[in-house]
Symmetry: C2
Subunit: 363 residues, 2 copies
């Protein structure tokens, strides 16, 4: 039986490990704190269309390809764990002023060019769909195919699926990939991947989120993912069974994952600008994660050498990217590449695979 | 050896238990979660002067009498535990506008009438004392005798002092005082006291606080307790060894101790209005407690019958009230009342000691 080490037990690593085990590999996951990290501090949006912007066609194509694979991936996970992970079926991006509304129109036109069918909503249309949103919301872009998942249900289900399919989980930090006695290695260590392979251009970008719990009498949880831009900052509200996840700040702060007063202040203010009633929600948790970001915002999925495959660098879209990343990584292990993931080949960066590691980036 | 049951293991209950044990009582504390509750969700200000207001002379007298006893109480606690609990020596109340400044002058005049010596500061004086405060602060009232303690250090030290002096701690809820087989009973169950003695006019008032941790590069922690009023809401910043406690919201919310989004929003906004740099602090914790409040904002310290003594109802000033409450309660147990605490006799309310308990207050 061929042996596979997966370095990193976040959502990507666990998903790869589970599917590889089901495909006949003998799999061991290495992570000092499995099912935690940036995957646990996520909204769970599957929204490549709402995130689209002209000229970013490759990101749109990669994200849309992964989104198409989500229903089958979720079905398979539910079949083995009994856990359904979807918490919303649609995404509504809203505009608070004329400039925002013009931006939504730009996104809509770009999406139509690429074969998607978004729906523009006027003020009344937005309120008909989500009555609790602020009266200042003047337009919306409805995307009926962009769903969302509960990232924590997902992580726990993947963890369970791994254990049930015979994956061994070692609570250890890997310091040297070369020392791992396995036939193949998948590097899925998120922002920490550059510690093991300094040639990978991935850096931590801190993101803070809030978890709000609905309280009796408070405005209802929106049915859809709500996205907006407030004072130039992106904010999203992602439904949960019992509340809302609000995200996300972004800072270049290294591996610092402390929650700041200013971050919480901004998230609350921006969320209230969209959904004024959330002051009555419980603030159940504030948390920060280190997202693995690349220079071009596409992940790093590809062979680094005959033994090591990278599956990292998903930035703010790691949950979205799971199904395509899993398919592509298994394909690389089996020698049948996935065309949809070729844009993510790490060798698009000149540094990758160079004999000499780059100087330490100080992360 | 005479036996004493103390119902409630918050700061008041533990302090009474410790001192009673040292005075020769055989003491048992009953509390399902000792050293928690409202005592743990506190700023630790000892500020009866800064809280003063004309016509509230009894509250001022009670608080000032307890404040005078704090140094000796803290010394005694440090002698047996090695723990020093003071975190600030002075309190500075600041004004953001002309109305606030006029209010500070009213308080100052009232304090002088009662024999205290507050110092009024102008804009430059405030900045000389606390340079990081907002430039909008235009006046201040400095109180050099009003210190502050770390309530959690205090609670843990009291807990330790109890154990070291032979106090037994039973993690049990008491449902019936009459069923406790002890010579004497002290009822120190905070807002829950009315469950056991419905004739006591004490109700829970929810208060939320934030714990902020200093991060490198952030503005320094103030040296003094800083108090202010922002948009009509009282806000205080209490120094800690590693940060600041910000308090406190107030709601009539029964025993609900969930932290609300709106409460956190207001606390951050008000604190930032006073100390603009705190956005860079870590938001380490947000918590809520149920303060035991009485109709006249004085505590309930006195005999309820031949066997039961009340020591509760301290509202937002429970930490301040500890030394006088301990002295008064031990005095009542020994038959030598403390004159300073007579204003807190529960029999000032007509309901107290009535043969028929009042109808349940629904708390």
């Amino acid at each position: 039986m061929r042996t596979l080490a997966v370095v990193g037990g976040g959502a990507i690593g666990l998903a790869v490990a589970w599917r590889a085990a089901e495909s006949g590999w003998s799999v061991t996951v290495f992570d000092p704190t499995v099912a935690s990290g940036a995957s646990r501090v996520a909204g769970g949006m599957l929204a490549p269309l709402s995130e689209a912007w002209p000229h970013a066609s490759r990101e749109l194509a990669f994200g849309a390809a992964s989104l198409r694979r989500w229903p089958e991936f979720a079905e398979r996970l539910e079949a083995v764990t009994g856990v359904g992970v979807f918490v919303a079926e649609q995404t509504l991006s809203v505009a608070l002023d004329g400039a925002d509304a013009a931006d939504l129109r730009v996104v809509a036109d770009f999406l139509v060019e690429h074969g998607h069918q978004p729906t523009m909503l006027d003020r009344a249309g937005v309120r008909a769909h989500e009555p609790a949103l602020a009266r200042t919301v003047r337009a919306g872009l409805l995307s009926v195919t962009e769903s969302a998942v509960d990232n924590r249900l997902l992580l726990d289900a993947l963890h369970r699926a791994c254990l049930d399919s015979g994956v061994a989980i070692h609570a250890e930090t890997v310091d040297d990939i070369d020392a791992l006695p396995f036939d193949q290695v998948v590097l899925a260590a998120g922002a920490a991947s550059a510690r093991l392979r300094p040639d990978l251009p991935v850096r931590p970008v801190k993101g803070e989120i809030l978890r709000l719990r609905h309280r009796p009498g408070a405005v209802p949880v929106p049915k859809r993912v709500i996205r907006a831009r407030v004072h130039g900052r992106a904010v999203y509200l992602v439904p949960r069974a019992d509340g809302i996840v609000v995200g996300a700040t972004q800072y270049e702060a290294g591996f610092d994952t402390t929650v700041t007063v200013g971050g919480v202040r901004d998230l609350i203010a921006d969320a209230e600008a969209i959904l004024p009633g959330i002051g009555e929600y419980e603030l159940a948790e504030a948390a920060a994660g280190a997202r693995p970001v690349t220079p071009d915002n596409l992940p790093l999925i590809g062979r680094l050498d005959n033994r090591v495959v990278a599956a990292t660098g998903h930035g703010r879209n790691g949950i979205l990217g799971i199904p395509l990343t899993v398919d592509a990584t298994l394909g690389l292990l089996e020698g049948r590449p996935e065309a949809d993931a070729e844009v993510a080949d790490p060798r698009r960066f000149a540094t990758v695979g160079s004999a000499q590691p780059l100087p330490d980036r100080g992360v």
